[in-house]
């Protein structure tokens, strides 16, 4: 997997300003907030309702308005890029023009924001079939832009594409060393939003939490 040094195309003074402001030596590590302990995640998983998945009839991503304005000119995607990257420099419209992003799913590091996706840990379609079909659009918008819990994370775009709508029974991050953290984030999101799990998903999560 190759990295693209997009930063090289931008003027030096801009780069220096970013380096001075944010520092270049901080560890490159994505850190969504509110990741619970393994013990908490295990008890939250036990509290979730187990049910088979609902239909996707009527589903559309438009029913989960995402990438809304968070602050100033910054939308949700840009806010997570700034949070999860290091030495991130943004322009006046909040687009990340340089920075480094470490994807904990696969261990790759990127220097162009275009190589990085913001993953919904619990995918929108998966949320729909585990309870969000009955929510208001406003609640779905809050879910799709949830910066308060461990629901959004900057990762390699191809890996996010390969995950798609799949739950942990069907897809897990390539790095097994991240399975514990991934399961804690998944469980806590489902718990916070009162979403259901299916039995295969619950078994997979229990197994992943067993690695913690």
């Amino acid at each position: 997997m190759s990295t693209v040094n997009k930063a090289a195309r931008f003027p030096i003074p801009l780069l220096l300003a970013g380096a001075l402001t944010l520092g270049l030596t901080a560890p490159a590590q994505a850190t969504p907030p509110d990741i619970p302990s393994a013990a908490t995640a295990n008890s939250e998983l036990a509290a979730l309702t187990v049910a088979s998945e609902g239909s996707l009839s009527g589903y559309s991503r438009d029913l989960f308005p995402h990438w809304i304005t968070i602050s100033g000119t910054c939308i949700t995607r840009e806010t997570v890029l700034k949070r999860d990257g290091t030495s991130v420099v943004t322009d006046s419209s909040c687009a990340a023009v340089s920075g480094r992003w470490y994807s904990p799913y696969d261990g790759a590091t990127w220097t162009a924001a275009s190589d990085v996706d913001i993953d919904h840990i619990v995918p929108l379609a998966e949320a729909w079939r585990s309870g969000a079909s009955s929510w208001s659009t406003s609640r779905r918008q809050s879910f799709a832009n949830d910066l308060n819990g461990p629901q959004l994370i900057a990762v390699t775009d191809n890996v996010n594409q390969a995950k798609g709508d799949q739950d942990p029974a069907l897809w897990k991050p390539p790095l097994t060393s991240y399975w514990c953290t991934y399961a804690k984030m998944w469980v806590h999101t489902k718990y916070r939003w009162s979403l259901k799990v299916n039995s295969a998903e619950k078994t997979a999560l229990q197994s992943m939490l067993g690695r913690c």
Partner: protein
């Protein structure tokens, strides 16, 4: 006829799409023919959005081959028993 549509169930690993990555479960395949080109799209059964299957378009020498292309794609994609 310019459109063919068929329900199917994706096998393990789902179907890769341009817009949303992998999608799984009960889906629908739609192929459209326009300007000499067949394009294949999928959606969740009964859902509102179609997504392009990654890489699934080609030029046909004869529009009459559209039905056969649709049938072959359906045969490859449909895995109701996993």
């Amino acid at each position: 006829m310019a459109d063919y549509s068929s329900p199917f169930v994706a096998g393990p690993g789902g179907v890769m799409t341009d817009e949303v990555g992998v999608i799984t479960g009960a889906l629908e395949l739609r192929t459209t023919f326009a300007n000499g080109v067949v394009r294949a799209k999928v959606r969740y059964e009964g859902a509102d959005e179609w997504y392009a299957i990654t890489g699934a378009s080609c030029r046909l020498a004869d529009q009459r081959d559209h039905a056969a292309v649709h049938q072959v794609l359906l045969g490859v994609l449909n895995r109701p028993l996993g």
